[in-house]
């Protein structure tokens, strides 16, 4: 009974912390949703530990206590992969922003807009540079 109490307390604490962080605007959008999911799962497993052997029977894992470990590690791997994807996207954005700032700064220093540097004939057919906006 003590083990169940410990798990329940941990689940409630985690869920409470995450709700608190979301309320305080420290976690945003998709991240908050993911962590709420984690909190809910912890809460359910903490309050109803009998879910674990039931999951063991369903999935055919004979040693039921490893079920939460397997699920947990899988979720961590998925989350890490997703973080790396997000990081690559941000790296791309960062690089392009640094380049863009350098270009704008150079233009600012010379006090010349791009159209005044190039031939008017060319600047009219300049690609409208749809790529120029960094948001994806």
């Amino acid at each position: 009974m003590t083990a169940q109490l410990t798990a329940a307390v941990l689940g409630v604490l985690l869920a409470g912390t995450i709700l608190f962080l979301v309320r305080r605007d420290h976690l945003h959008g998709p991240y908050a949703l993911w962590w709420l999911g984690v909190a809910a799962a912890t809460l359910i497993l903490g309050v109803f530990p009998s879910v674990v052997p039931w999951l063991g029977v369903i999935t055919g894992i004979s040693y039921a206590p490893v079920v939460p470990i397997i699920v947990g590690i899988s979720m961590i791997l998925l989350r890490m992969l997703q973080l790396d994807i997000e990081r690559s996207r941000q790296e791309r954005q960062l690089r392009r922003l640094v380049q863009k700032i350098a270009i704008l700064e150079a233009e600012m220093n010379t006090q010349r807009a791009p159209s005044s540097i190039t031939d008017p004939a060319i600047s009219t057919q300049l690609p409208e540079d749809g790529d120029w906006h960094e948001n994806e």
Binding site: R95, Q99, P114
Partner: protein, 235 residues
Amino acid sequence: MQYCLAVMPARDEQNTIVAVIAGVRKHLDCTVLVVNDASSDATVTVARAAGAQVLDLAVNLGAWGATQAGIRYALRHGYDCVLTLDADGQHQPEELPALLQAHHQSKANVTIGTYAQRLSIAKRVAWQYFRLLTGLKVHDFTSGLRVYDLRAIQILASREASLLDYQDIGVLMLLQKRGLLIDEVPTVMSPRQFGGSRVFASWRLVARYMLRTTLLCIARIGSRADASRAEKSAP
């Protein structure tokens, strides 16, 4: 007549850059753009004083990130030709007009200035390996001396090219995938006066480079087949 922009990525090159800028300005009638890749020395001041335009990157983006900044500048300002060269004085400015002329005469979208003799045995082995892997018929993948036409500029300014790390195989594979023609012209090069190669600095870096590039090549295998089909169907 084409508007050509000479793009020079530079990181801590205050010792050589003045001579390189002067050389380019003497032999070519074009704007020289130095892209300062977060140098800690006086590269910016020295380059400005030498009459170059300067892009000052706030964060170190690496050789390709700096070059791409120059290419995006060229696209925005209506240049239809970009010549890239190293700021360390390895490329001889008197070779540049011949390289540009060769580029304009051939129908290639990209012309690489190659100095085949400088390649060490290790590099030759590596390049042979990458030639097999990529199907690119290029002798020197890392040469910083290149001429890009407008089509290449448009492709290389794109978001797709932003996560590359070097101006090498990744860039060439991207261009090949879009069906662009890549040509090579032999040039003469002088030995590096200061500093060392950024790619081949140590065995650890070489190993990392080989691994990364191999991964890049393997990941692009399917798109390579597309490109060769596109070439065949073209008139």
